[in-house]
């Protein structure tokens, strides 16, 4: 027997989310049926609003509300205007902001360069970074915080090659042991990388 159309459609929508197969989608759909009508309404509104009321910041590429563009970080004159932290996506900005230890600006690439996936240097939010740097001479350091994958590293190296001739200092995040971890629990590759990146005391 087929499910009635409304629930079949809901199951279908859930399966479009990453990591959710048809079994989980069915469970979620039936759970949704049992929820308070108000909660369901709020949920559907949030879904639509997340899509409709958000845009990318015209300066840094971070997600921001339509009515606040440039975003709050770009508008904040108390932040250190000489440093730009380059990350792959907006989630990385949140992670960094939660540390409360960084007070400079950001630039969000919204991806990494990966020719095999059809993404060239001009297909991520990189040309705008170059423009931004030439328009804002006060920026003298770019910290590259792309992921430690082959693609993330390539993107970082590419940035360094473009920016260094312009006299901008380009730095890369260190990788090594997790703080508070025991050496004997670290995986071998992390250990090898940590030894390669060791610093003098």
């Amino acid at each position: 027997m087929d499910y009635p159309e409304p629930i079949a459609k809901l199951i279908d929508s859930y399966t479009k989310l990453p990591g959710i197969g048809s079994k989980t989608a069915t469970r979620l759909a039936f759970y949704t049926l049992g929820m308070d009508e108000k909660d369901v309404l709020d949920f559907s509104k949030s879904l639509v609003s997340a899509k409709k009321d958000l845009t990318f910041c015209s300066v840094c590429g971070n997600i921001t509300e339509n009515s606040i563009n440039p975003c709050v970080i770009c508008r904040d004159a108390t932040r250190d205007q000489s440093t730009v932290f380059v990350v792959e996506n907006s989630r990385d900005v949140m992670a960094m902001e939660n540390t409360r230890d960084y007070h400079g600006l950001y630039h969000i690439l919204n991806g990494v360069i990966s020719p095999s996936a059809g993404t060239g240097p001009e297909d991520i939010n990189l040309p705008s970074l170059i423009r931004r740097l030439s328009e804002h001479q006060e920026i003298d350091e770019v910290i590259v915080g792309t992921n430690v994958t082959a693609e993330g590293e390539a993107t970082a190296m590419y940035l360094a090659r473009l920016l260094k001739p312009a006299g901008i200092k380009v730095t890369r995040l260190a990788h090594g042991l997790a703080v508070g971890s025991d050496i004997d629990y670290a995986d071998q590759l992390t250990l090898i990388k940590a030894v390669q990146g060791r610093t003098e005391l």
């Binding site: 197969g21 095999s116 060239g120 082959a150 390539a154 190296m157 090659r161 995986d187 071998q188």
Partner: protein, 375 residues
């Protein structure tokens, strides 16, 4: 090390099977298409998290089912470790001691296996890709950094080839990003080159006496690493990097024209030389088999040196492909030190005489119909 037990759930033609093994020789007997190779394959997969027969994990799941599990207990000198692999449409999950491993390179190496199948007799005269795969699989089991580097190399190569295609099609003219990919390729590729060279030198040392023995001291085997990057034995990493980079620079125009990376470890090969002749070209079929067998047996010793434990040996239908002399060498070499799994339709007389107290499993249509401990 020994695999003490194995459980298969919805794996290939097995629904739910649990087996306990002997530390010595285990034999899977049965007619064609009953599931003998499937059993051996499952042990290989448990060790390496991928099959030697298929590149699609989906094939491992029993038809009509959605997930499959292979689990087993591995005994090393003091420890006893449960391993498990779970396959579903979302990918695979590897667990050691019931803990999920985030990186497969952390999982691989817990159980070391060497597989010897009739195709391996092709090691000597098959395509170069067969020999590259052989080094990558065997060395990768012993050295997690090598495994990681070869995976990275393949990824970078894929990106670089894709970017060369863009340049070829004039979709871009930016060679700065090509330089970046070249630097990455050289950095990782040189480590791969050096590791392969070192590994082959050690494999040669281990294989020579075995080869001499099988050929009744009449022949000498040497291994030569043939690489598109020209460097001698004993060259250091920095020099290899410099040579690799220069070689790529020289090829750059051609690479852009062809839209592909023309030199590097992905183009390399191993040459087996017996009494000054390339066995792949000039060797008789018997000489090629002796060489392949010597290499396989040498791997057992090498893995023992590298990890402190003997690997387990999987022999798929290979005994019947060898003559009595080679069967004898093989069986004597493993006796009392290497846990071995053999598949065969029936056992030869040589095998019956030489295998000491095997545990025999009779396989019929995805079930073990009889289990006997031969004394």
């Amino acid at each position: 090390m020994e695999l003490q037990s194995l459980r298969l759930v919805n794996y290939r033609n097995y629904t739910d099977l649990t087996l306990n093994f002997s530390d010595g020789v285990n034999v899977f007997l049965g007619e064609n298409a009953q599931g003998k190779t499937n059993l051996l394959e499952s042990i290989y997969v448990l060790a390496l998290a991928r099959s030697h027969r298929t590149s699609s994990d989906k094939d491992l799941i029993r038809w009509q089912e959605k997930e499959a599990t292979i689990s087993g207990r591995v005994k090393k000198n003091i420890s006893d470790t449960p391993l498990s692999l779970h396959f579903s449409n979302k990918g695979k999950k590897a667990r050691v001691n019931h803990l999920e491993q985030s990186k497969l390179s952390q999982y691989i190496g817990q159980l070391n296996v060497i597989l010897f199948a009739p195709e391996d007799l092709e090691l000597v005269k098959g395509a170069p890709s067969v020999r590259r795969r052989f080094i990558d699989m065997e060395f990768g089991q012993m050295n997690p950094l090598y495994l990681y580097n070869t995976t990275q190399y393949r990824r970078i190569l894929k990106e670089r080839n894709a970017y060369l295609k863009r340049l070829q099609m004039k979709q871009t003219t930016d060679t700065i990003f090509l330089d970046v990919l070249t630097e990455q390729l050289v950095d990782i590729g040189s480590q791969v080159l050096l590791a392969r060279q070192t590994f082959l030198e050690r494999l040669e040392v281990a294989a020579q006496p075995i080869h001499a023995e099988i050929s009744n001291k009449r022949e000498t085997l040497t291994l030569r690493y043939q690489t598109s990057i020209d460097f001698e034995k004993g060259t250091d990493l920095a020099t290899i990097k410099a040579v690799f980079e220069q070689t790529l620079k020289k090829q750059q125009t051609r690479e852009i024209m062809q839209g592909s990376t023309l030199v590097g470890p992905h183009r390399d090969d191993i040459q087996f030389i017996v009494n000054d002749n390339d066995v792949a070209v000039f060797g008789s079929q018997g000489q090629q088999r002796t060489t392949a067998l010597a290499i396989k047996l040498a791997e057992i010793d090498l893995m023992q040196q590298e990890t402190g434990e003997y690997p387990i040996l999987l022999l798929d239908d290979v005994l019947s492909e060898l003559d009595a002399n080679r069967q004898t060498h093989l069986l004597l070499a493993i006796q009392d030190k290497v846990q071995t799994f053999i598949t065969a339709p029936t056992l030869s007389d040589v095998a019956r005489q030489l295998i000491h107290a095997p545990k025999v499993f009779h396989v019929q249509q995805g079930e073990i119909v009889l289990e006997e401990q031969v004394e």
